[in-house]
Symmetry: C2
Subunit: 604 residues, 2 copies
């Protein structure tokens, strides 16, 4: 085994393919707000970020997991190297790629920021949560804060002088956010006194920055019950006017299955002393709407985090499979003296690796597609095109979050299986990937919450027009490519899958209207998976067709041929496995199985 | 939350149902070798074992995981309470339930031992590995040893005076067992000098017993290459003739994702001093055949371990879901002031729990069915019936091991999701269940090895007669029950699934014979899953039909009604989800997707 086997690896070539060969990022570069950016700059940044994570955060991923965060006397000590990594990150500017120049950012496209984020999450997912949440806090203030608030907080957050958090969850208000009871009482000077306990606060306390800016959902006196009565507050740990310590006490940190280097805190606001915050913007009672922006950002972040960990696990398993010798080649299986081969030569290992490859490239395609829609929303004038882009962006968020997170765990699990017994040991990175990934399906809205958001909210937006546009895009691809010689069979099956998606969505509508609403939550997760795998099959088949075109042009021994040929196999293996399941799942949902609601609690 | 929420729980009622209402264990009790056993004794033992694990090993499961085994100066220290638990276990006699009375056992049926083993594995799976491997070592000596060896080792192993291990794996011989290079050189006195290194040896060194009896695969000089040249040796850590320490050195222990309290050792035999062993039996070169008995025992043990952990995770999640209040009932979802309900009231939680229930009860049914075949093999005279029982036993071993282990991990993963964020914390047992369970798909032959054993070996045994008998049993059930009013639809689909299994098996034959042998390893895992889910759908539907009969007899308010009604829902939910996938998978395999073999290594 080479010394290097455990280091972080990323498939830069695939990132470039997505940005410039599939999604045409170049079309929005060199003009408007991205005037300073060209293809060369983007490629250079990707290479530099890759180098940075390999040098700085990747090497401390394992040690940070083993040590975890330590809680002593109310303070949280992060693992060795985290402070230095933070400093290096903001000096390099990698967190500011998509941030406005006026706040110290680099004004690049969101899509670039997302692809860079894959690497930062993949190399050290626990570390990357600190800057990730910080950026989220900054974005919500940039969108909803007063001019004064933007001036005070945005640049300091975007440039890493301070860090940030999002504080929603309370002991009895997890998925049920509206049950939050943290109080915010207005003072004479317009500020608010905050009192309450928040739990599961990622990066809620640490020793990386001098100040931490908490974004806290709380209820003002007399406000409505539920989410409508919530307002959002900026609550710095140290007051930013220099008046000193604000009363935010970290009561404990959690001991978890993974992401051990990310502190998960219980925070008491205003216990044993005043805790002062300020309302985001000027209007009370819109906290949930404001928090949604932050949550949307965080959900895309979790999907990207899933992508990063899945891709890292795939690359680790691939490298190991190429190096590890075990057993003879299948054609010699009866000859015990035949030479041993790398395990990548064995059929089942190849099967697992190709499955991981397709899944990883599939989530990556979904994330980049989402990024491109976001960038277009950002630069387009109001109008039909912008409405379309915004609609597709909204539709993709729950897919990226839920499918991306589920696949991260599955891919990491398969990576362990590729390693065999060695994968179960802490000597290799994949068991950590697996432990880290499990939380992705839970935080920032469980994957069931995502599925409910998809079927209960997104499908019906604009009278269903967003979803219809999504199906129409697939339909256009199918119409154009169903006679493709090598891929046509899968393209046709994609068409069937898309039709079954549309029919299932109509079924949901029927259930909502026809007194069978309880079938909706029972079916939502399956629908989300159907839609995700259909979308990914589409995007991978599109990649395969692009790759066919490239292969026709390339010289016989061009080193890029292997990459393009790989695209073909990712597509046919993924689509071959998944599209039949979409049809099967549509049939299953059509059977309206209500057993989980019919069984009595005593019968469990 | 009640104080008790984290304690181990087992569904004793389901065990009793399986033994006495579905599989008719009573028919073999009270006569022959089980003359002393009746239904009452069996039920009493099950209750007592349940009580024992709740009192003794269950309460130290968590603490043992956190501390793990410690390695200092060549010695392994097991977690607090392990020595005492071992002593208590053998005093109570729970490991000897199925063991012959002449070796200190209780002479009960294997099926009882397996059901007791579910509880011992579920309450503390790492602890249970020590006695489990010990029993395996004893069984191999009982079957293949000389009279002298049986006398020397069996009773001491079966009664826990000594413990045992199985030593197969070497650094470059994992799945490729035949590559083992550990040497055994015969001495003048008939004993052997053992030299070599074994890795991944579970319970290879510890402080629980004074002596450890290692069963070691090694190669004699001049023996054939591959598995055919291997012999099996008994290698005690302390010589059993009182001559003192034998040179077996524990070089290190592994740091793992889970089963932290089970020591996983690197063992050096004969390094820096002689290590003496004795051949099992009298003939060299049959070690692999002998080891297969031990491996078969261990594979059933791993499947049962999977069952134990799955069942524990399901019960934990169920208990939590009944206690944890979150959110209003769905019918009040627009009213933020509606009372909070236990999360078991929420549709998605019910869906997850019912899925876990069906999977858990399904593996349990498979394990008990296997146990009953084993018991019948044990008591029947040679003849057609015994041949049938043996054939079904052989067929079920890879299913129990592979499907049982995969489902343990899936059920534990779903359990975390039921808990939500709390499930990711070490405050609750489910994240440990998940970490523990991941190894089950790897050790004792990876699940791919099981799948190859199924399609490459078991399907073709006796010219396919075992598999045909399996399909015929399902066919008889389908013929009898396909017009059942409430379950007939699923029974018919079971018939289709069984047909597609048969057709797929024929396809394998065609591939073997038609130059497409590489499709076999690519398809084996999927076939194993198809066959497992078909078998479980059958057994659960059979349970549901038995339950229908019981319900017709029970009074309206009989407390047992809830149990029987639950059976119906386990069956229809499991069969509803899985049988369609069997048909879909059969279609997929029919497409002969060879992408994993066609893609070049450079294209990954």
């Amino acid at each position: 085994m080479s010394q290097n086997i455990n280091r972080y690896r990323c498939d830069l070539r695939d990132l470039q393919f997505l940005l410039f060969e599939q999604f045409g990022l170049q079309e929005i570069l060199g003009k408007g707000k991205h005037a300073d950016w060209g293809q060369e700059e983007v490629n250079m940044v990707l290479s530099e970020v890759y180098k940075w994570v390999c040098d700085v955060t990747g090497p401390i991923n394992e040690s940070a997991d083993r040590v975890g965060c330590k809680f002593e006397n109310g303070e949280v000590k992060t693992p060795a190297g985290f402070k230095e990594a933070w400093k290096s990150l903001y000096e390099a500017g990698w967190r500011g790629l998509g941030v406005d120049e006026k706040y110290g950012g680099q004004g690049g496209p969101s899509t670039l920021a997302l692809t860079a984020n894959e690497m930062m999450s993949g190399a050290n997912t626990a570390f990357n949560m600190y800057p990730g949440l910080t950026q989220g806090a900054a974005e919500v203030i940039e969108h909803f804060g007063t001019d004064e608030q933007k001036k005070t907080f945005c640049k300091n957050l975007y440039t890493g002088v301070w860090s940030g958090t999002m504080c929603l969850t309370e002991p009895h208000a997890g998925s049920d956010v509206g049950a939050a009871t943290t109080k915010a009482v207005k003072l004479d000077d317009g500020r608010y006194k905050i009192e309450g306990t928040k739990i599961f606060i990622s990066c809620g306390q640490h020793d990386i920055t001098d100040n931490i800016i908490h974004m806290v959902l709380a209820r003002t006196p007399g406000a409505a019950a539920g989410t409508k009565g919530l307002s959002l507050f900026i609550v710095p740990r140290e007051s930013v006017d220099g008046s000193g310590y604000n009363n935010v006490v970290c009561a404990s940190i959690e001991h978890k299955m993974g992401i051990n280097a990310s502190s998960t805190c219980v925070l008491n606001f205003g216990e044993g002393g005043d805790c002062i915050g300020e309302l985001v913007g000027t209007v009370e009672g819109v906290g949930m709407k404001q928090m949604f922006l932050l949550m949307n950002f965080a959900r895309i972040g979790v999907g990207t985090q899933g992508l990063g960990v899945a891709a890292a696990a795939y690359q680790s398993a691939l490298e190991y499979a190429k190096e590890r010798l075990q057993g003879p080649h299948m054609k010699n299986f009866k000859n015990p003296e035949a030479p041993k081969v790398p395990i990548i030569e064995h059929a089942d290992v190849r099967r697992m690796l190709l499955e991981m490859k397709g899944r990883t490239e599939g989530i990556r395609a979904l994330v980049v597609k989402l990024g491109m829609h976001a960038d277009k929303v950002d630069i387009l004038e109001d109008g039909d095109q912008k409405t379309y882009e915004k609609g597709q962006l909204d539709l993709l968020v729950p897919l990226v979050k839920a499918y991306g997170s589920d696949q991260a765990y599955e891919v990491a699990t398969t990576a362990i299986q590729v390693y065999g017994g060695a994968g179960y040991l802490q000597d290799h990175p994949v068991e950590q990937h697996c432990r880290d990934a499990k939380i992705f399906s839970i935080y920032e809205g469980t994957n069931h919450i995502q599925a409910l958001d998809l079927v209960g909210r997104q499908l019906g937006q604009r009278g269903g027009a967003n979803f219809q546009a999504f199906l129409k895009d697939i339909g256009a691809f199918v119409a154009k490519n169903s006679e493709n010689e090598t891929l046509g069979k899968h393209v046709k099956e994609l068409g069937q899958a898309a039709q079954s998606l549309g029919a299932t969505a109509m079924r949901f509508l029927g259930w909502f209207q026809g007194g069978k609403a309880q079938l909706v939550p029972l079916s939502a997760n399956i629908f989300l998976k159907m839609m995700s795998t259909t979308a990914i099959s589409w995007l991978l088949l599109e990649q395969a067709i692009i790759a066919e075109g490239k292969l026709a042009e390339l010289a016989e021994h061009d080193s890029d041929r292997a990459f393009y040929e790989g695209k073909r196999y990712s597509a046919i293996h993924y689509a071959g496995l998944e599209l039949g399941q979409v049809l099967n799942n549509a049939k299953y949902l059509g059977e309206e199985n209500q057993a989980p609601m019919e069984i009595s609690t005593a019968s469990f």
